[in-house]
């Protein structure tokens, strides 16, 4: 922006702000559209947000003292709240029982280690307007803590450790959760992280916790495309893929919660069929991949739940296996498709696919279609060697090489964390054979997470745990260095695209980065 432009904005802003409503409208109408938009966007912000009016140091009491949060001992005060005891600890902070000294009531306080943004505070205030018997009320928002209704009971997740819920009870809670969703959706708030761990079962019924906070959290860091917030296992496809979410996103997650309550089973891709037909219909329609095919509103869902016949409620709904996808048998061939990098960070380009192949090559149970074969088939297909292995291309390669399945994966950022996702698909029938997700708290743990999902997917594909244990050297033991793996990956692609000579400098680089990198050493020895 040029200084003149700024001066124009400044002049119009002050004139408009200081004038009467009519003067303001007239002034804005005269301005060019660009200028007008700019000034209007500033005038909206004047609506007032106290955050900049407090000196910075007041916004940052914890910054210089790292022990602040763990040091929240009994009797300590956060604003007007006196800490009484610690209720628990989450990945993000701690939860305390506290007394609101002004109102004399007990509350729960969730602290985080980082400051909330002004926007978080603003939107959290909107959420605090949610007042429904089945929603845990958000009372107040501090600079780095949330004050919530103190809800006593256990979460559905905790309850499920003792097995499935009786059908009557599951349906009753499900209706209450649906009512909570309806109330929130009506005010435009979507939960985005509904799951058994976020629903408390209390004496007075189900209470949904942490409404809408997943998205707020997302807003603090959401910058790159493809970032997702929420808990991967319960995420609707649109949310997982970073597409816009709406109330139907919650309906999807609700489907899993209901399924888990009824069956006691954890979320899995090969879910069992629920015997009671009406309930099966309700659940399966919640879990439709396409939002347009799900129940369209929580209200609709409530009506369906109310209509579950009493008769079937009494039946044992213990789910029966259904749609179990055929597992692989030894010697089945697998094509490694693309491992899509949605993080925007080039360090992950290529290396995760390479890392995965290193992991899977260890399995005596699976045979990977080698990169060399892939290159050969690409030539038959009249495609250049560097063709991206999109699902379609990978499937064709799989068919042409007589393979059984295609593995495809992706990595996306989740705030400062990463989510890795891996799926195996039968390339003849299109059936999904297995799907796994893992989270890495930071970049250095991505390879570790990759090892974990590789192991999980091997189990999903039917490999016995014993052989996995025997043949699974964690990637970090191959090389702990992302850069080293990247050089190794470059060597592999250079090898198939341009021959041995082209691969050698990359291998040398990999070894220079990590002299202990045995695979790179071995390859280099082989080429020389």
């Amino acid at each position: 922006m040029t200084p003149e432009r700024f001066r124009q904005i400044e002049a119009l802003y002050h004139a408009a702000r200081e004038g009467t409503a009519e003067e303001r409208a007239a002034l804005l109408a005269q301005a060019d559209p660009e200028l007008r938009r700019e000034v209007e966007s500033l005038l909206i912000e004047t609506a007032g947000d106290g955050f900049l009016d407090r000196p910075a140091i007041r916004n940052a009491p914890h910054l210089l003292e790292d022990s602040t949060l763990t040091g929240l001992a009994m009797g300590a005060c956060l604003g007007r709240y006196r800490i009484e005891s610690k209720l628990g600890e989450g990945g993000m902070g701690e939860v305390f029982r506290a007394i609101d000294t002004r109102l004399g009531r007990a509350v729960a306080i969730k602290t985080t280690r980082e400051q909330f943004s002004a926007r978080f505070e603003r939107e959290a205030r909107a959420i605090s307007s949610l007042n429904h018997p089945n929603i845990c009320i958000l009372h107040d928002v501090g600079p780095n803590y949330l004050v919530m209704e103190l809800v006593e009971g256990e979460t559905i997740a905790a309850r499920l450790k003792k097995g499935p819920l009786p059908v009557e009870e599951a349906i009753r809670y499900a209706r209450q959760i649906a009512a909570a969703l309806e109330a929130a959706h009506e005010t435009g708030i979507v939960h985005r992280d509904l799951k058994p761990g976020n629903v408390m079962l209390t004496k007075s019924g189900a209470k949904v916790l942490d409404f809408g906070l997943a998205r707020l959290e997302g807003d603090q860091t959401l910058t790159a495309e493809g970032m997702v917030m929420g808990t991967p296992a319960y995420m609707a496809p649109e949310q997982r893929e970073g597409r816009p979410t709406d109330p139907r996103t919650d309906i999807y997650a609700f489907g899993w919660v209901l399924y888990e309550m009824l069956t006691g089973d954890q979320v899995t891709l090969q879910r069992k069929r629920i015997r009671a037909r009406k309930l099966e219909t309700i659940v399966s329609r919640c879990l439709e991949e396409d939002p347009a095919r799900r129940w369209q509103s929580a209200a609709e869902l409530q009506r369906e739940l109310a209509a579950v016949p009493r008769l079937s409620r009494g039946l044992n709904v213990a789910a029966v296996s259904a749609h179990r996808a055929p597992k692989l048998t030894p010697k089945n061939k697998i094509v490694l498709g693309e491992f899509e990098n949605k993080t925007g960070d080039p360090v992950f380009d290529g290396i995760l696919r390479q890392g995965l192949s290193v992991q899977l090559e260890q399995s005596p149970f699976l045979t990977l279609v080698s990169d060399q074969q892939v290159q050969q088939v690409l030539r038959y297909m009249n495609r250049p060697p560097e063709t991206r292995l999109t699902p379609e291309v990978a499937q064709e390669i799989c068919e042409r090489t007589g393979g059984t399945a295609v593995l495809e994966g992706s990595i996306a950022s989740l705030g400062s964390q990463y989510v890795l996702w891996l799926r195996a698909r039968n390339c003849l029938t299109g059936d999904i054979l297995g799907q796994e997700q893992a989270k890495a708290e930071r970049k250095e743990e991505v390879l570790d997470a990759l090892t974990r999902i590789a192991v999980q997917i091997r189990a999903r594909l039917g490999e016995s745990l014993a052989t996995i244990r025997e043949h699974s050297i964690p990637l970090e033991q191959a090389t702990p260095s992302l850069e080293g793996l990247k050089a190794y990956s470059a060597a592999r692609s250079a090898l198939f695209a341009r021959g041995f000579a082209a691969a050698i400098p990359h291998l040398q680089r990999a070894i220079a980065i990590d002299p202990q990198f045995a695979m790179a050493q071995a390859d280099l020895g082989f080429f020389y």
Binding site: P55, R58, E65, G90, F116, S117, P196, M229, G415
Partner: protein, 185 residues
């Protein structure tokens, strides 16, 4: 020393800054600790306190005092930004939390918007509007009053107020814009 600075001695300013920075930092720590424990000490700016501590007020002209505050506000900004950075990096370098898919992603820690983001947005803003950005530095980071800002920047009270209004709206808008910054065309 401050008097020497007041008369334009650059070296004196450097020596003063050397003294002020650690003192301000120490006080900031103490202040935040108290604040975090729920004992709000006082609303006055720390820069006032450090000023009282370091200089003999009675012998100094108002103008020098205002300049001192401007420097101290800048330092305060640096202290807070540094603290936010080390706070963030210490967390990242700490013992990794157990990964658990059931773990709530709610409240997942994120970048420190309040300090680092304001600092960043303010730096960008200062490229188009230096004076207005200075007003924010003095007021938000330095905790100075309008009167002190007026003296320090040699502007009229009305300009100080208008600058503050615009700067606040501007920064809030930038901070709420999660993606893309059309105004940085």
């Amino acid at each position: 020393m401050l008097k020497a600075w007041g008369s334009g001695d650059e070296a004196a300013l450097g020596r003063l800054a050397e003294q002020v920075y650690p003192e301000l930092r120490r006080m900031a720590r103490r202040y935040m600790k108290n604040e975090a424990e729920g004992n709000t000490l006082q609303a006055t700016a720390l820069v006032h306190e450090v000023y009282l501590r370091l200089v003999d007020v009675t012998n100094v002209q108002w103008q020098a005092r205002a300049q001192f505050f401007a420097i101290a506000a800048q330092m305060m900004r640096r202290i807070l930004v540094d603290a936010a950075r080390t706070h963030g990096s210490r967390r990242r370098g700490g013992i990794p939390a157990k990964v658990n898919l059931d773990e709530s992603a709610v409240l997942s820690p994120a970048a420190d918007r309040s300090i680092l983001a304001v600092d960043e947005a303010l730096t960008a803003f200062s490229r188009v509007a230096l004076r207005q950005a200075k007003v924010v530095e003095l007021r938000y980071f330095g905790g100075l009053t309008e009167e002190e800002i007026v003296a320090s920047l040699k502007i009229s009270p009305r300009t100080a107020r208008r600058d503050w209004h615009l700067a606040k709206a501007w920064l809030l808008r930038e901070l709420s814009q999660v993606t893309g910054k059309p105004s940085e065309a």
